[in-house]
Every structure is written in C-alpha cells, then in structure tokens.
Amino acid sequence: MQQPEQRDEVEMLSLMLLIRRFEERASQQYQAQKIGGFCHLYIGQEAVVCGAVAAARPDDYLITAYRDHAHALARGTSADACMAELFGKATGCSHGLGGSMHYFDREHHMYGGHAIVGAHVPLGVGLAFASKYRDEDRVTLCFFGDGAINQGGFHEALNLAALYKLPIIFVCENNLFAMGTSVERSTALKEIVERAEGYEIPGAVIDGMNFREVRDALAKIIDGIRKDPHPAFAEIRTYRYRGHSMSDPASYRTKEQLEKYRLDDPITRLRAQLTREEKLSNEQFDKMDKQAKETALASVKFAEESPEPPLEKLYDYTYVNGASA
C-alpha cells in the first residue's frame, strides 16, 4: 500500500537535491562570470514547487515568474538544458534567447519564466481559460511571489478567474520579501491569503518548508478543481536563503531570521521524515546527493561545450511564417 508513495517521496527528495545543487553550481558559475544578466536563486523554497508538481498531473499547465529554474527542473527539463540557457547557448531550454528569467519548455508544459512582476498572472488565467474552452480537465498552476499581489494585473486576473470559474490554482510563494521590501512594508493586509476572499476564491495557508504538507494540501485543492472547475488560492509560506538576485547581500534581514529558516530546511526535513520512517538510509541519501552534484557539474560541462545560437538566425524568432490552415 505504501510502496508507490514511498518511492515517490524519495524521488521527490532527489529532485529537491538536484534543484539545490544545480543552483549552487549556477551561483558559482555566475560569480565566475560565465552567466550574464540577472540570476535569482530559489534555494530554500524547493519544497514548494516539488510539492506542487507531485500533487499535479504532468500535463497540467504550469506558469511562473522569474525565479524559475526550479520550476523547469521540477517539471522535467534537464539540468543540461537549464544550465545551457544560463550560459546563453543554443541547447538551452529557450535556445539561449530567454536567459535565467525566461525559461520555457513546451514539451514539459512549462509556460515560462516571466519577468515582469504580476504580468504573467493574467496569462495563467488564459491557460485555464483554454482548458475550460476545450472542455479539458487540466488545471493551471500559476506561481508568483508575495511581490506580485500588489500589481493591478494580479487583481484583474483573480477577478476574471472567479467570474469565468476557471480551473486554476494561484500559488503565492510568500518568501517574506519582494526584493528588499518585506511583506509588512508592502502590503496593507496582514494575511496575504485574505486577498483571495475579496474575489470569493477559496484560500489556504500552507507551510512551504514541509514537502508533505505542500503536496497533500495542493493535491486536495487540485483534485477539487479537476472535478468542478474553479479558481483556488494557496499562500505557501517559504523562505529564500540567498538574496533577491546574485548582486543582493540581503542586508535587510537578520542573521537570526535566516538561521531560523535554515534549521527548518525543506530537504533536511523530508530526509528526516523518511529516515525516521525507515524509508531512506544515510547511504541512500549520500548517494542521491552525490548524483545531484554530478548532474549539476555535468550540466556546466554541457553548457560550456554547447554552441552559441547562430548569428544568422537573429531575425528568425521575431515572427513565425504562415497562417491557420
């Protein structure tokens, strides 16, 4: 009875490790100036997207903001394609044209990677609209941060989703800071989840450092949406260990706060749960971690050896040819 769930959880722990080791490697490569532009790390938040992906179907639509490396990896985009994108290479998941903030992977139903805060929330509503229009039972998972909830487009999107009863879950990854501005300094409401009430959208608050809680809570919500299309809202409380981006020393928060969350690390927590239940040995964990580190390191080699997008194709992505048949 417990067998499939056990396997899944170990697999998901392995995925969380891959995300963490990938981003540690990306951070190192950024400092070595192999990666340009902005680079926003997800380290500390891994349980959120992994819990969500474990709760959803692989063909459910997923769309997110600019802190998107983990969302692609969780969906099944290879570490090679993710690292190559950071290097701006043709083998990247957006062929080197998107960069860190614009990961896309049609095959794995990853619809970006969107870098204007809040602007992709209406797009997520559009994905859900398409599901309903076509009478499909896909659910849209629309991720955004606590910084997005004060943008006008966010409110318009919630209202439209409620009005049209669209199958979408708005996943607010509340990591307490919009860049350097804390939630208390940005948001008049004390509880973010109350934003949903204004649109008669059911809301839930979930501990984002606990993989099992994220997965179980979202599974229940997604199941409900699939049976009867409607929007739902989940405020998932989490924390990023690193700054907003690579250039941010995060001096706006205290060492004590960071330490408190580090002690509650989502990977450590799931590992402890599995170990306690004798579903995972230390050897197994070490092996998985070693594997994650090797995959991340190999992705750097892959990215380095990959070709640049060809200059002669510069104009090939502005328009597509043709029309509907």
Binding site: F104, A119, P122, G126, A130, G152, A323
Partner: protein, 328 residues
C-alpha cells in the same frame, strides 16, 4: 460587389472567421450582450453563444493577458479594445508579452492573437480618448499593424489578421464605422495580405502617402488639387504600418518625385518620420523636393472643437504642403 458599411464589413469578417475556426473567440468590454460599443459585434452573441463571444469587466490588462495565455496553447483570440486609447492600460501585455514570447521561448511559443478596435482621434473626445497609438506599437518588433480605411480593406485585413500566427493589431477608425464602400459578395473569402499598400488614386505630380482616417482626407484633397491647382496627386494608402510596403512607396515616388505624408498620429517619431527616412535613404537623388509631413500638432488633444480641428491634419494643411513640394 455590393455596398456595405465599414462596420458591417468588420462584422462579416468576425462572423466568417468564427464560423471557420472553432479556436477563434471574441472577447472584450461590451462585445456580447451590448453588441459592441460601436455595434461591430452586432448579432455575434446570438449566433455563436457566450462560450465564444465573451463580455469582460473593465480590465484591459487582465483580458489582454488572458488572450495571450490562451494563444500560447493554440487558441486564436480576438481581443477588442473599446478604443486603443484603453490599450495603454494593457500596454505591458501588448508590448511585453505578446510580441516577445516567440523570441524569449526560443521559438516554442508563437502568439496567434488579434487586438482590434478604433484608434486615433474621433470627435471632441479630449486628450485621454484621442490617442493615435500606431507609432507607439510600430516601434515593437514582433507586432504586425494594419490600418484599414475602407470597408473592403477592413474585411480583408481583419480576416487575414485573425488567421495570422503572430500578434496583429487591427487599428480601426471610429469616424469611418458608418462609411460605405464596395466589397466582394459574401461568398468570397476576402483576404488582403498584411504589408501591401494600395494606390487608391493614380496621379503623376506628387505622391500623398496616407493611412486610416487620412485616406478619405487625402482622396478628397486630391480631387480639389486637380480642380483648383491642376496638380495630379497619387494617393497611396499604406494599409499596413508593419510590415511596411516599401516597394509600393518607392514605385509611386519614382513616378512623381515628390512626397507628402499625411498621418493621423503625432509628428515626433511618428509613422511619417520612418517612411520619409526610408524614402530618402533609397532614392535621395530621385526626389525633386524635401519630403513634407502633415501630422497632428504636437500637443495633447484639446476638447474645444475649433482647437481640435487646428490640431488635426486638414485639407488646407495638406494642400499647402503639396503646393510647397510642387513649388507652386
């Protein structure tokens, strides 16, 4: 051919494309139950039902974005802006999301969406409701822009826009909705390619380049020029701003050697600035006079009727410019 209004032509284009392709839907403020703020979508709700003709709240950013998201997975939305002055509220969606997606995704996601509605000054609507947005959007790679001035062009261009696999803006003219013109019979699948200008009047002395609401102005003025000044003006309707039909422009100018551009937008970085740059770059030696432009005055649109008239291109301004390039 039969005579129908510009409004009816647009309505037919919408109905034909909705009937042809189940992935096409129309969304916007007042498009369904109200039958359209300008009655362009008259009868469509009744014929196609609320699944495909969808009223929205006043949330341009929200429903423009919704359309783009739906287009990512292959639907073909027609998003109506009650006026393109309101598209400015959705500027980020139209400028940042629709045209960038194909590049940002390395070619994985094209956005087959049509944004349509009236654009440009109408009559005494004041500064906020009188924007001619074509020059703002023309600066953005990834967008296509057409500006029909006749019922025939309205029908043919809108149908082509809906079938195009890229984001296309169909900038209509409020003041022309009730104007009439000849259009092919209903059983003809009228498609006019984007990026093809049309000579609306042949002439030999000067080329008047125009689009949208300056087309009827140019045509009427050309008649006056013929009668009053014995100047034979060729009237070239761009029909599409992007892609721009440079070939047709150069062909006409190589015949007349004199150009006046009459445009409905503002002069600074306006459409005419780009067109005149292209002409002088390609055929500087073929010009007998500097290219002149007649655009709006560079001020926010005043409400007062007399002042509004002073801001807009007029027959008098156009005649003066033509006479100047003809040295008469």
């Amino acid at each position: 051919m039969r005579e129908i209004t510009y409004r009816q032509a647009l309505n037919e284009a919408l109905a034909e494309e909705l009937a042809r392709d189940p992935d096409v839907f129309l969304m916007g403020e007042e498009v369904a139950e109200y039958n359209g703020a300008y009655k362009v979508s008259q009868g469509l709700l009744e014929r196609f039902g609320p699944r495909r003709i969808i009223d929205t709240p006043i949330s341009e950013n929200g429903f423009a974005g919704l359309g783009i998201g739906a287009a990512m997975v292959g639907l073909r939305p027609i998003i109506e802006f009650m006026t393109f002055s309101f598209s400015l509220v959705a500027f980020d969606q139209v400028v940042n999301n629709a045209p960038n997606m194909l590049t940002m995704s390395g070619g994985q996601f094209n956005i087959p969406i049509t944004f349509r509605g009236p654009n440009g000054p109408a009559h005494q609507l004041g500064a906020t409701h009188s924007h001619a947005t074509e020059c703002l959007f023309a600066n953005i790679p990834g967008l296509k822009i057409c500006t029909p001035a006749t019922p025939r062009d309205a029908k043919g261009l809108l149908k082509t826009a809906i079938r195009d696999n890229n984001p296309v803006l169909v900038l209509e003219v409020e003041l022309l909705y009730s104007s009439k013109g000849l259009v092919e019979e209903e059983d003809v699948d009228l498609l006019i390619p984007l990026g093809e200008a049309e000579v609306k009047r042949e002439g030999g002395d000067v080329t008047i380049i125009c689009y949208a609401q300056t087309v009827p102005l140019a045509l009427a003025t050309a008649e006056r020029l013929e009668e009053e000044e014995e100047i034979s003006a060729e009237v070239l309707d761009l029909r599409s701003i992007k892609p721009l039909d440079l070939e047709a422009i150069l062909k006409s100018v190589s015949k007349t050697h004199r150009v006046v551009i009459v445009e409905q937008d503002r002069p600074f970085c306006g459409v005419g600035a780009e067109v005149s740059y292209r002409i002088q770059k390609e055929m500087f030696d073929g010009l007998d006079a500097p290219i002149l432009r007649v655009a709006q005055e560079d001020v926010p649109m005043p409400y007062n009727e007399r002042l509004e008239k002073a801001v807009l291109p007029s027959a008098e301004k156009l005649i003066a410019a033509v006479k100047k390039v003809c040295y008469t």
